[in-house]
């Protein structure tokens, strides 16, 4: 299933001119406050009427010159930036609301799983009025998930949740993606969430799409780092456990080479590792007697200088990794394209996201 979006819409303050394709999987929309993210997903969901354009889910045209499907017929589940729970219904009934309209309503097991995953068991008989901000948002996520949508649109769904709850929900969304769930259009300010979840990245600025493409490419591209934010660049590596486990550490095969990381919680799907550029240390000599377990040989591909840091693109194994170091270090270490070196990655610095 693939979403293709192209539309214009003028507001007083801003004019939106948005075009992108969101293939299967999770597509993240990232950008500063007020750049048009919510407006864009509203247009996709049928809540904002573009001045012109075309929005289609595979062959199913949702909007064009002659078509404007009402939201109900788009089959797009929407987790709103504000929860928008139905105040007159209990949490249980809010959760069940979409099921009666779904052609393939979720079964009891699915329902139970969502409720448990979102920690809603104790809230089922409550009304939205008494819920905390995070509780509301969790119910809103559950409500959208349980409406069996063809596409899931989530507008900063985790912003009001604590890290523990986020950490609990993210893998579920990942599994949803992996398990043939609907594609997800995911609006977020948090690159950590995006790195954990998304396959594709759309960056919006002032009503326009300034970057679109696979997430891993964007993160590893020193030129894209400016767009994404100084602290967010790095590498995103697929990883497969080899099965070898020593000292509670698991050995993983990655395109960069073999890495060790704390034994992952039993995960069905493939793993994903995020290596932040500013957490990578570059060394000319191979470091010894050091607490960082993962030291890999590397070769400098190019350097992109910034005002207070230099981004070094390194070839490590079959992949590229980005390291953010100071200009002084780059000079002291004599890093120029072609130089061989080592990258030091702290074991526990690996973010295991999938």
């Amino acid at each position: 299933m693939s979403l293709s979006v192209a539309f214009r819409r003028r507001f007083d303050g801003l004019s939106l001119d948005v075009a992108f394709d969101a293939p299967d999987g999770v597509t993240a929309i990232y950008g500063p406050s007020g750049c048009g993210k919510t407006s864009t997903v509203n247009a996709v969901a049928g809540l904002l009427r573009p001045d012109q354009g075309r929005i289609a889910l595979d062959d199913r045209v949702l909007f064009d010159d002659s078509t404007d499907l009402p939201p109900a017929r788009r089959r797009i589940g929407y987790v709103f930036q504000d929860a928008r729970l139905f105040p007159h219904l209990t949490v249980a009934k809010n959760l069940g609301y979409g099921a009666r309209f779904a052609p393939n309503p979720p079964d009891a097991a699915m329902r139970a799983r969502v409720i448990q995953m979102l920690g809603l068991d104790d809230l089922l008989d409550r009304r939205p009025a008494g819920l905390s901000g995070g509780e509301r948002q969790r119910v809103a996520i559950g409500r959208a998930l349980l409406s069996s949508p063809d596409l899931l649109v989530m507008d900063e769904p985790l912003a009001s949740l604590d890290p523990a709850r986020k950490a609990e929900i993210l893998p579920y969304l990942t599994r949803l993606r992996a398990g043939g769930g609907p594609p997800i259009l995911y609006v977020s300010h948090a690159m950590a969430e995006i790195a954990a979840l998304a396959d594709h990245l759309i960056v919006m600025i002032e009503g326009r799409v300034t970057h679109a493409g696979p997430l891993a490419d964007a993160l590893a591209d020193p030129d894209a780092a400016a767009l994404i934010g100084p602290a967010e660049g790095g590498a995103l590596l697929p990883a497969a456990p080899t099965g070898l486990i020593e000292d509670d550490l698991a050995q993983l095969d990655t395109p960069a080479g073999t890495l060790w990381l704390p034994r992952p919680a039993a995960h069905p799907g493939p793993l994903r590792l995020r290596i932040l550029a500013h957490e990578v240390i570059v060394s000319r000599d191979e470091p010894k007697a050091i607490s960082a377990l993962n030291v890999l040989p590397a070769r400098v591909l190019r350097l992109v200088g910034g005002p207070d840091r230099t981004l070094v693109q390194l070839q490590v194994g079959q992949t590229q990794i980005l390291a953010a170091i100071t200009a002084r270090s780059a000079r002291t270490l004599g890093l120029v394209a072609g130089v061989s070196c080592f990258v030091v990655i702290k074991t526990v610095g690996l973010i295991q996201t999938g």
Partner: protein
């Protein structure tokens, strides 16, 4: 009870029936009209809204006359209804029509305020969950405007219980058939010394009104508690 004659009890029973039927029958139309005025913009919107208010502005007698003209056997509508045996003339249904029309503006206004207060974002949310227009209306909008619907219904019912001018002009005062409590009260007040009997009927009206309002307050409080944000 001994202090009211059988004819007066008949009037009380009839008034209750007339008011209940008038209110319930007018309710769907009032909801529809309120929706139209609250949610749609169209040429003539303000004029329609003004037209709805007319039964309030015109002296009830005038409304009664207009009803009389409309439903008289010589008029098309009245003639047709007469032929199919449904003529409201001199029938309690006519009283209900008069009461319903007189209460209509009150019902529409209250319910319209309800519609205007509903957060459209909740209706949007229902739409994204697959609910079509009708489903959004019945599962989200209607429950949310319940307090306003209750308020409108009480106003309509109270007006229907009290309506006199249009009713008596339209369907006259036939004991047991069209004599409502206000008609009976009016008749008593026309003769010197009739105040006592009139006051007894007034007391009955008050009891009924108080009961109806208290009942509606309980309903509304429940409805409001459920949707308290």
């Amino acid at each position: 009870m001994s202090w009211l004659g059988p004819e007066e009890w008949q009037a009380v029973a009839l008034s209750l029936r007339v008011a209940a039927v008038a209110t319930l029958a007018a309710l769907p139309f009032a909801v529809g009209m309120a929706w139209l005025l609250a949610r749609r913009r169209f040429p003539g919107h303000a004029l329609l809204s003004a037209a709805i208010h007319l039964p309030l502005v015109l002296p009830p007698v005038v409304t009664g006359y207009l009803l009389l003209m409309t439903f008289s056997r010589n008029a098309p509508v009245g003639g047709f209804l007469d032929r199919i045996g449904l003529s409201p003339a001199f029938h309690w249904t006519g009283a209900a029509i008069a009461a319903g029309i007189m209460g209509f503006p009150l019902m529409v206004r209250a319910i319209r305020l309800g519609f205007e207060a509903v957060d459209p974002r909740l209706e949007q949310a229902a739409g994204t969950l697959g609910a079509g227009r009708a489903a959004v209306f019945t599962t989200v909008t209607l429950p949310l405007i319940l307090p306003a619907v209750i308020a409108g219904t009480v106003l309509g019912f109270a007006k229907a219980m009290g309506e006199f001018g249009a009713t008596i002009t339209f369907v006259a005062n036939i004991p047991g058939q069209t004599q409502t409590v206000p008609s009976a009260i009016y008749a008593f007040l026309q003769v010197p010394g009739g105040e006592g009997a009139a006051l007894r009927l007034v007391a009955i009206s008050i009891v009924i009104a108080v009961a109806a309002v208290i009942f509606s307050e309980l309903l509304a409080r429940r409805a409001a508690r459920r949707i308290a944000a």
